[in-house]
């Protein structure tokens, strides 16, 4: 508190890489070494088993797509609370087009329906200047009603597989397996060697029967980062979110870029919905997103409005979620993980001489350590909350340098540049 200048110099050390700060990279690399350590100490192999990572990819992707959608929209200066609704539309669109035209058209249908939701949001907020939160909430409500109506209208007469609220037996999308490599990695993972086996488990999840759509998601993240950060188009789009008046004075068509941002956002959210109904399962049912859109929104904020940050936050949630589903027992090991993480953070804060933050983090860390030492399992009632708790905790301590786009959420009228 007493030495703000010193704080600033010390946090500003180092350059950003892939848009993430050095502190974030330290956390990521630290996690990479701490997780295998915890796995060894607590003897819980599921922590880094391939099957855990495979499930984690499935629960990460929909959230990550929603988060990436959020990044696109908010970078263009439009808050998109309607992600949840656009995802919902995507689940239905994917199911409908998958059923009648095949799996790939299904994906396109999910994207298209999501874009319809995005278009609605764009027209309301950009053309008519409606409050962005109000419009987003309205889209969520409209979407949940529309999906209910659409499935009743189109699916209830499909014999056996269909019903007014669901459609089962959709076409599956192909998966990829790299022969040879996956067996080698699987053997390595089974050896339980420190770090090596854990990394093998992680890598195997990407070469053994991974859905092509999951790989597409990774491509989309790289592509989005490149487009937003490395191209003129991206610079202009981001300028609309930072200072639309300045952008317009330089000849940028602000409204067009905002439209692009929100439409892409809706399309990505729609693809997230399509992932839920045709990749993670082959079953559509009403209300399938179960709040994933909102979690994506949170992941985007924790990811500092950066594609890779959003991916990391989504992966953290997905990992905790898959652990909670697949191996509730090893959740207990997460306590030790959190304690170690908080200890590292305390040291960092001490070095920064931010003593109050250090004490807070230290006390919480000791509490987790004691919890780990004096219990044998996490109560099952808490188990389901773990993904939310872990995400909240890790990110609330790691997210003290977040900065949203300066003009995010503000309506812009053409000609404001004067």
């Amino acid at each position: 508190m007493s030495t703000p200048t010193l704080e600033r110099t010390r946090t500003a050390i180092g350059r950003r890489f892939l848009g993430l700060s050095p502190l974030t990279w330290v956390l990521i690399l630290g996690g990479l070494t701490v997780v295998p350590f915890v796995r060894l100490v607590t003897d819980s192999a599921p922590l880094t088993a391939t099957t855990t990572f495979t499930a984690a990819i499935l629960s990460t992707c929909p959230i990550a797509l929603a988060a990436l959608g959020g990044v696109w929209s908010e970078r263009a200066g439009v808050v998109n609370i309607g992600l949840e609704g656009q995802m919902l539309l995507g689940t239905w669109g994917a199911a409908y087009f998958n059923w009648y035209y095949g799996p790939w058209v299904g994906l396109a249908g999910g994207i298209a329906l999501g874009m319809v939701g995005g278009l609605l949001h764009a027209i309301a907020t950009i053309t008519f200047g409606v409050d962005q939160i109000v419009s987003g909430v309205a889209i969520n409500i409209i979407a949940s009603g529309a999906v209910e109506f659409l499935s009743r209208a189109f699916f209830s007469r499909i014999p056996t597989n269909g019903g007014p609220r669901n459609l089962t037996g959709l076409f599956t999308l192909p998966t990829v397996r790299i022969p040879g490599l996956d067996d080698a990695l699987s053997t390595l993972n089974g050896r339980h060697w420190f770090l090596v086996s854990d990394l093998a488990g992680f890598l195997e999840a990407f070469v053994a029967d991974i859905s092509v759509v999951s790989l597409l998601v990774i491509v989309l993240f790289v592509l989005s980062w490149w487009l937003l950060r490395r191209t003129t188009f991206g610079l202009r789009l981001r300028s609309c979110g930072e200072s639309p008046a300045a952008a317009e004075s330089l000849g940028v068509d602000v409204r067009r870029y905002k439209y692009v941002g929100v439409l892409v956002s809706g399309g990505l959210a729609g693809l997230g919905g399509a992932y839920l109904s045709t990749v993670a399962t082959s079953t559509f049912n009403v209300g399938q997103t179960n709040g994933d859109g909102y979690i994506g929104l949170a992941a985007m904020i924790f990811g500092n409005w950066n594609p890779f940050g959003a991916l990391g936050a989504s992966a953290l949630f997905g990992y905790a979620d898959s652990l909670q589903l697949r191996s509730p027992v090893s959740l207990h090991a997460l306590l030790l993980l959190l304690a170690i993480g908080l200890a590292a953070l305390t040291a960092w804060r001490l070095w920064q001489r931010r003593f109050r933050a250090a004490i807070t983090n230290g006390v919480i860390g000791v509490a987790f350590l004691l919890w780990f030492l004096f219990t044998n399992s996490i109560p099952s009632d808490l188990g389901g909350m773990t993904p939310y708790l872990v995400t909240l905790l890790v990110l609330s301590v790691a997210s003290q340098s977040l900065r949203m786009p300066a003009a995010d959420g503000q309506p812009y009228r053409k000609g404001s540049a004067g």
Binding site: T51, A55, L58, S59, W99, Y100, Y101, G102, P103, W104, V105, A108, R152, S156, R157, I158, P159, T160, N161, G163, P164, R165, N166, T168, G169, F171, F233, D253, R256, V260, L276, A280, T281, S282, T283, N285, V286, G287, Q288, N290, S322, L325, R326, S327, P328, S380, D381, L382, G383, G384, M385
Partner: protein, 361 residues
């Protein structure tokens, strides 16, 4: 912007090209939908039935559809006529009372509330319409004043789940079986308790792996993706028979089991799910633990027709076929006699099936 237009053009062409190469569900266009029977009350019919559905409504492949099937039976066999009303998510008791009153004003002599959520609303509305008979499926009387014109269907799903457990134990080769529930509590608990007890009645050494999708809330009934992940984990652990009591989430279990290949089984719930799953999954549905809501609704309508309307708690158990096991597909043919032995013992009261999963080892 020119570059964007190019990208957009390429995307569009790709999308159009993809449209051409998709597979199709042959002959699956809209057809053969059953015509609606609940079209209005006829003054001449002996039973004038009004049905208020639960959240989920008709077409849920489970509870509500089963109630509707009961109404269909009543129409075709008893000459009844009927009307219906749908519920919406997150309703208050006041809204349910309004719905019941609206139905009552149309002049029925029997009103069915589908689901325990109607218990409180019926308790308020029933005394105002003493000439109408009410039925609450899975219902309970919330206070101590007895309503003479209200019946509550009390299903005993632990008994059918016990038989499902017996079937699972006789089928498993790995000696590991699974149970997936939607949410822990009084609704799903009896399923888990009965199933576990049934498995252990055959061989206490068989391991029952039980897991709930969520600790609370109703997400667990509509999350096939999570159900699939849990099922996959159980299969990885070696389980080869998995029973679900999780509504629509069950579709995820069926997918996982079908993908795991021959010798892996799922057990359905509420209605005969063998007839509801896609054709390629049918050979994996060992059996279903039935809960005959249709029987409950039909019996109620019949009792009204005969002038002796049901009142108070009406038990539906194995003895009166209110719950039971399905044998579609013929996968249990060689074990059927042994399952029937257990059914007999439960009906005779020799076996008391537990309802609390925490008391089953």
């Amino acid at each position: 912007m020119r570059r964007i237009s190019k990208v957009a053009a390429v995307g569009l062409i790709a999308a159009v090209a993809l449209t051409g190469c998709g597979e199709k569900h042959a002959g699956s266009s809209a057809s053969g939908a059953p015509s609606d029977v609940c079209t209005g009350l006829k003054p001449s019919s002996p039973v004038k039935l009004a049905i208020a559905f639960d959240v989920g409504g008709r077409g849920d492949h489970s509870f509500n559809d089963s109630a509707y099937a009961g109404a269909e039976n009543a129409v075709s066999k008893l000459g009844a006529s009927c009307i219906e009303a749908q519920a919406t998510q997150g309703e208050s008791d006041a809204q349910r009372e309004d719905r019941l009153k609206q139905l009552a004003e149309q002049g029925p002599n029997a009103i069915v509330g589908v689901g325990y959520l109607y218990s409180k609303a019926v308790n308020v509305v029933a005394p105002q319409y003493p000439k109408i008979n009410f039925l609450v499926v899975d219902g309970y009387d919330p206070d101590k004043t007895v309503n003479k014109n209200v019946a509550y269907d009390a299903f005993q799903p632990q008994e059918s789940s016990f038989l499902a457990g017996v079937a699972a134990a006789l089928t498993t080769k790995s000696k590991i079986v699974g149970f997936i529930g939607a949410v822990p509590g009084a609704t799903i608990g009896p399923f888990q308790a009965g199933y576990t007890a049934g498995v252990h009645a055959i061989a206490p050494s068989i391991k029952v792996e039980s897991q709930y999708i969520v600790p609370s809330g109703d997400k667990g009934y509509a999350d096939p993706a999570d159900a699939k992940t849990i099922a996959q984990k159980m299969l990885d652990d070696g389980a080869d028979v998995i029973f679900h009591a999780a509504g629509q989430s069950g579709a995820g279990l069926f997918e996982a089991v079908a993908a795991a290949g021959k010798g892996k089984w799922a057990i359905g719930v509420d209605s005969d799910q063998y007839t509801q799953v896609p054709a390629d999954q049918r050979s994996h549905i060992l059996t279903s633990a039935l809960k005959r809501v249709d029987t409950g609704v039909f019996d109620f309508a019949q009792s009204v027709k005969q002038g002796k309307p049901q009142t108070g708690y009406v038990a539906y158990d194995l003895k009166n076929s209110g719950v039971g096991l399905s044998y579609s597909g013929g996968f249990l043919d060689k074990d059927k006699s042994r399952i029937m032995q257990y059914q007999k013992k439960i009906e005779d009261g020799q076996i008391k099936v537990p309802t609390d999963p925490s008391k089953v080892k």
